[in-house]
Assembly symmetry: C2
């Protein structure tokens, strides 16, 4: 038996994983182990700091509930979620499809159905806006019967899941495009908001003196038979934190500005924005599945 030192322990750990039947799991765990060890060596992690890390990760896990996913929040604030999205885009995005953005922790399946131009604000009140346009294919032709899912904060910066009764859905819904691929959503102007600051991730972000805010945005998930699902978001260009998103979700092509008097808007008197979403045919090599991070599907009760 050879004694393990700070370098050979890495090889020993990787060697114990060498019989993993799933080659992808083996590859991921070997790389993760090597990088994790390299990190610990680089900072000369002490036992006290290691224990603080164990304690932090434990609290992150225990902060997860069916309505809150603190590990996704941690990944978001570390820039990891954005990194994974960017790589997936490069690997699987086809042609001129709309850029993706983070799904975030507030997506929920089975949101209510609405008709063209109806408002998703069934309870919340505030200044209104309209988002309209088309879902188009790579050639720019409208895609009929596409599902356009939308979710956002209310005018006070809170999602329904953060309200007192998270069982009640509001400020989210699903639309179907018409025969020309058109959609129109009436909603409230979202407010930029702080990520949840009452958990361990918020504690860390405060210790880093980060403001913790996301610029105002509207989440979108767009799907159609035979097309790659598009998870994206539109960001309001006049938000003061548009350049310093705590979770690194903003892309220039997703920044929009509202204006009244747009003739094509279902109601030109309401501040509106036209945005066409371009979706791509699902590529044969597309390995990306549904990134449906519905917290209730992840966190054990």
């Amino acid at each position: 038996m050879a004694d393990l030192n700070e370098h050979t322990v890495t090889d020993a750990a990787v060697a114990q994983m060498a019989n993993t039947p799933d080659p992808r799991l083996r590859e991921i765990m070997e790389s993760l182990t090597r990088h994790l060890h390299a990190f610990a060596r680089e900072v000369k992690l002490t036992p006290t700091e290691w224990l603080a890390g164990i304690d932090f990760l434990t609290r992150v896990g225990q902060a997860c509930t069916p309505y809150r996913q603190e590990f996704i929040l941690l990944s978001d604030t570390l820039g990891l979620s954005r990194l994974v999205n960017v790589m997936d885009d490069r690997e699987n995005r086809v042609g001129e499809a709309t850029e993706t953005s983070l799904l975030g922790p507030f997506y929920r399946e089975n949101s209510p159905r609405f008709e063209y131009g109806q408002s998703i604000a069934t309870r919340a009140k505030g200044p209104e806006m309209i988002m309209f346009g088309k879902v188009v294919d790579e050639a720019g032709n409208g895609v009929p019967n596409a599902i356009v899912e939308v979710w956002q904060t209310d005018a006070e910066g809170a999602y329904d899941l953060q309200a007192n009764d998270p069982e009640v859905m509001d400020m989210r819904g699903q639309y179907r495009t018409d025969a020309e691929g058109r959609y129109a959503i009436r909603t409230l102007i979202p407010l930029g908001y702080s990520i949840p600051m009452d958990g361990p991730v918020g504690e860390l972000v405060r210790k880093q003196q980060r403001h913790g805010f996301r610029p105002a945005h509207i989440h979108m998930l767009i799907g159609a038979e035979g097309y790659r699902e598009l998870v994206t978001a539109l960001y309001l260009g006049n938000d003061p934190n548009i350049d310093s998103d705590t979770v690194f979700g903003v892309s220039e092509s997703l920044v929009v500005n509202l204006a009244t008097g747009l003739n094509e808007s279902p109601d030109p008197s309401v501040p509106s924005v036209r945005y066409d979403f371009q979706i791509a045919k699902r590529a044969a090599h597309d390995k990306s599945g549904r990134v449906g991070a519905d917290p209730s599907k992840i966190a054990a009760e």
Copy 2:
């Protein structure tokens, strides 16, 4: 606003952490972020795999209880705990002090006091053994009134915390060395055991086709006023898994073999081992604190 790609997102994340007032936290989080991103880039982590990772970490956190620390187990099986220990030893170990070993997830504070030669097996039954010797300083002189804490499995390979009533302590206790620094512990011969396999870490270890066993061992924590606390363990040399510990805890200098007929043993008819623990004065630069990973102090209820 510049759009973030898979490389610039790393710099953007690090830049947002640049105002962290605590320089050590800044250093650790910057290094962690860079290595985490490098891992994700190296394996081209997909959204589906990322989500599986989120789910895994969430389940690890939720498996933690006051009596179980699944994140320490994860760290142990990845070789990270051993790495941190090895570095701490190199940094802070002085002279010929006894090597350290992993604390593991089963340490508990406030274990019962025993007198010289008494048995820690207050309930469990099985073949007995005796461990005796001295706690000595760097010059080899006995250290009187040192605390010798010991904890181990019973003869069936289970810790008290894994028994039906984890409130009841057994197979653990504290001794004080006498005026010559001597200690003697009567106990049961421990059995090698599997790490807990009913949680997410066990699931991973099974997917890696690792046997999941630790060789039989006795945990020790030795402390005396003015000396560096020593966390170590003695391993039984005849255990079949002595060379393939799932958590990489074994060091050659900590492997012992039992023998009957040792004259110095309090009872030479019982298989015994003499082991002297050498402890070092606490160095001025010693930043290591108590690595007291009592699960009940870490996991939220």
